[in-house]
Amino acid sequence: MHLTKEEEHILDGKLGEGYARMMKILVKIGEIYGAEKLIPIKSAQISGVSYNTIGEYGLHFLRSLKGVKVSVPTTLNPLGFDSEHLSEMSVDEKFYKKQMEIIKAYLDMGIKPTATCTPYYYDNIPSFGDHIAWAESSAVIYANSIIGARTNREGAITALASAVIGKTPLYGLHLNENRHATHIIRTDFELKPVDFPLLGIHIGKIIDSGIPYFRIKGTQDDLKLLGAALAASGSIAMYHVENITPEWQNALIDKVEIINVGREDIEEHSDTVDGELYAIGCPHASPSELRIIAEFLKDKKIKKDAKLWIFTSKSVKREHQELVKIIENAGGVVFADTCVVVSNAGKIFSKIVTTSGKAKVYLQKKKFGGAKVIVVDIHTLLRSVVE
């Protein structure tokens, strides 16, 4: 891989050990994937935030980077709790303390104090064609597909290294020729809102890491749920939707495989939508989702034996306080900085109703509590949770 003089200097330790290690990671990854050089990025999004997943050693590593700062706008993934709603989430003292130490280590590097999987609403907004290095899989697929920014599915460490150096190796989805569709998805039925996350789970299982091309119609919120499910059930980092996503016109260049999907392939057979927890916001709720929820809940009350938890970012919450108030008056809770997957929610509740296919993929796993998860559309969920 070709390195500039300045990059060589960093690699040789002229800026110190921490920077040299970060540069070395980018150079090695570049060599592995055949990149010819590093290119500048506009922003980074970092995973590896929850103490549950990175542990004592992750905290130790972050501290060992002492003095290292990020050089581009950088945001964090959700953490294990919302510090304004600790009692609802059964957070013990040790976990709280350790989680806050991890956050402090990131903030010391100059990373923005926001923890969300949807930084693209307010906190970290890429434009079409921007090269970025993002790690959260649902944000990666949203940025590539709906915005037309360019990012590979970065790891916790490679995203951090890119944030510090301000560059990423030029390979994969940073190159036009790797952004073409690999599969056409033929759906012979009109999609209802609930079908988007379910279709995502189904296709993710079939093609794992290709780029699917859909002929469907849906809102940005529908497509967000489709993408998050594709990225959770498979390793998909990009998709196209005919007439909707920004790069669909150049998508069908290479030879593609055709996959036929009938309604019976994705339909769920659940006769009830009864749950202990009703959760919206995986990925974090958009302003429009928050508005749908608030408009429905005006003058209504949540059922006594159920809980309605909404997960969103601090910024969405701050910018839409009037909607938050309506939801809270009805008996719902609006959490920021955390989510239904990385908090203890999956361990507290055994029956969860949600709009998210991604949440279903994770929460059903033993490690996340093994809850029974029912996926419904947002209106069905809301109708089921009120008195």
Partner: protein, 127 residues
């Protein structure tokens, strides 16, 4: 026998091979606290496997082996992807990939010297 590969993390390491024939789900198969991979101790051994997979947070898990003083002496892979490569670098475990690991058997004694792997003694086939 000497096998050639590509350096992921430079260094010199020698030890007994613990080999896995299937890809390792790094966050899940590796337990940094007790230094085992799928319940087999790997501290001070040469860990041989085709490739890593699973959550990209797994690089921290490899660092965890070093943190708890349970790191293998070295690692040999067919192909190091992002998770293992970044993990090997931050944990400073001498690691080489693009090696024909079918030549290496469980229990062999091998020496890693940057990009080469030398098989010093093969494990006898008698029990």
């Amino acid at each position: 026998m000497i096998l050639k590969g590509r350096v992921i993390q430079e260094g010199f390491a020698r030890g007994e091979v613990v080999k896995f024939d299937e890809k390792l789900i790094v966050l899940g198969d590796i337990n940094p606290k007790d230094g085992t991979v799928k319940d087999i101790p790997v501290k001070g051994k040469i860990l041989v496997f085709p490739r890593g997979a699973g959550s990209t947070v797994g690089s921290y898990t490899i660092y965890g082996l070093r943190y708890y003083d349970n790191a293998p002496a070295g690692m040999i892979l067919e192909e190091a992807e992002t998770i293992v490569a970044a993990g090997a670098i931050i944990a400073e475990i001498p690691t080489v990939d693009m090696v024909d690991i079918s030549q290496i058997k469980n229990g062999d004694f091998v020496v890693i010297n940057n990009g080469t792997v030398e098989i010093i003694s093969s494990r006898p086939h008698t029990p």
